[in-house]
Amino acid sequence: MPLTSVPHLGDLAHDESRPYLWTMNFGPQHPATHTTLRLVLKLDGERVVDAMPDIGFLHSGFEKLGEHLDYNQYVTVTDRMNYVSPMANNVGWHLAVEKLLGIETPPRCQSIRVIVAELARISDHLLCLGAMGLDTGALTHFIYAFNPREQISDIFEALCGARFTNSYTRVGGLMRDASPKAIEMIRDFLKQLPKTLSDLERLMNRNRIFVDRMKGVGVLSKAEAINRGCSGPIARASGVARDLRKDEPYLNYRDFDFNVCCAEGGDCYARYLVRLAEIRESLKIIHQAVENLPAGPVHVAGTGRGQSHFRGVDDDRQNNAVGAAKIGTVPRVILPDKEAVASTIEGLISHFELVMTNRGFQTPCEEIYCATEAPNGELGFYIVGDGTSRAYRARCRGPSFVHFALFPHLIRGHTIGDVVAVLGSLNIIAAELDR
């Protein structure tokens, strides 16, 4: 495409003083972008002088949809944000909703959410590591990393019936409890993954070609990482010791023993190492969570009588209600079992009390921001409640959006072959980027 016909690319198209520079399109459809995004590169021979990201190809109005779907329905949309680790998005969304409603889920639900979020982290990191290998020419590495991802999909299938778009969480609980079979599968997975990890390490960590392609490429200093709002493994690879699981522990992360993995280099190789180390930490967390999985309900307790029962509860008490501790004053927020809906009148009533457009749960007219440590970085939801069971505004702060803005800064001065290395190390998921 001639760049003169793309006026909004601005000064990148013309440079009178350096007519020998040429421009090249990278994407929107290119195997190494992995998703649909476009880069316009300005090249001096093989060296990248400047890059201009052009995004929005996958924009599908998720935030607008969030204003028209209720708090339970929207979880299906969050699956499609970072589709590499949908569980982490599910957990992030419903934590935000629960923070707005002021409810706290029971310990068993929290532990299961931790397990699935960490499994999602492993699955996301494995894909990122595999793709980093693939982009730099190591196909074996990619296949090695993909096998355990298949196992994780099997575990998710056993948990909720879906392999990919899980939608496992609900307001105040989960779609259903984890079955003993699923727990057994997780135990098996915990036994097998360390072997794969050491295979990956031995294959790549000291691989001359890989290290040469990664080391010193796309260096991000600590000051720049903070200045540009980085989070997650990318910030930690630059030495910013920030992990929301430690800094503002949500769920029951407080109970687990794990380390925050940091590196100093800030280059692609550091980002690779941080992700690899985080997989081992996630394994530790899952191991502790599975072995100490609390018994009890996975749903918050409620009056079971639907919303109409507590419309009279004064605002203050409702705002301060904390989960199961105050049965009787707590609104019923959890959808009843499908079996109860189909076979009992009480179940049917409480189902309709929640899903009918003129009922549903009452939210405070307030605004909250709730962030979780998603595999890619800080995944935050800014929700504005307006009293109904639909969000007035459901902003999603996706880490990919913030991280992709870094790209021109990281690639300047490197060669065109490094574009895929930097892109892979940032782990840009275009569906989360464009939302």
């Binding site: 920030r242 503002e248 605004e367 702060r397 992709f404």
Partner: protein, 165 residues
């Protein structure tokens, strides 16, 4: 509490600042004239060095809302993780707030997204273009008066045929 000390110091410097708290989240509302100075003070003096997000809410149909657009700046401290939310409200037919790209480079794309989705202009932004939607798009779709299914953009989308291309 630490937060109340920050609020006190901020209010001494900026008397027309109001503060509130909800579920442990501290929020300050600054008038649009002084929002840039407030953010600068928070960054330089109170060490909120990380700009987490900039977003906007259109309060057109919100119960008891007085102003149309509410800007949201989410700040955090990279070391301690402490957070603060700064709000400011704008109203006009042509809402404008000062850009903070000079304070945080990361604000660039965030402000472009708010411009794209809400049509709030950022004064002093180096490159205020649409970011997610095509340049030819005329509306700002996250405004509340924009319908969910659009205004026919999907049906009237220019299709380039192979012969033309």
């Amino acid at each position: 509490m630490m937060d109340s000390r920050i609020i006190q110091q901020l209010q001494t410097a900026f008397p027309d600042l109001t503060a509130s708290e909800f579920r442990g989240q501290t929020r300050v509302v600054a008038p649009v004239e002084s929002v840039h100075e407030v953010l600068e003070a928070l960054k330089e003096k109170f060490a909120f060095d990380l700009l987490v997000d900039i977003t906007c809410v259109d309060y057109l149909y919100y119960p008891d809302a007085e102003d149309r657009f509410g800007l949201v700046y989410l700040l955090a401290n990279a070391e301690t993780g402490r957070r603060i939310t700064v709000r400011c409200f704008v109203n006009d037919t042509d809402p404008t707030v000062p850009s903070v790209v000079g304070l945080w480079t990361g604000a660039n794309w965030l402000e472009r997204e708010v411009w794209d989705m809400f049509g709030v202009c950022f004064d002093g932004h180096p490159d205020l273009r649409r970011i997610l939607l095509p340049e030819e798009f005329t509306a700002h779709p996250l405004r509340k008066d924009y319908p969910l299914q659009g205004r026919g953009e999907r049906h009237n989308f220019p299709v380039i045929t192979r012969a033309e291309g």
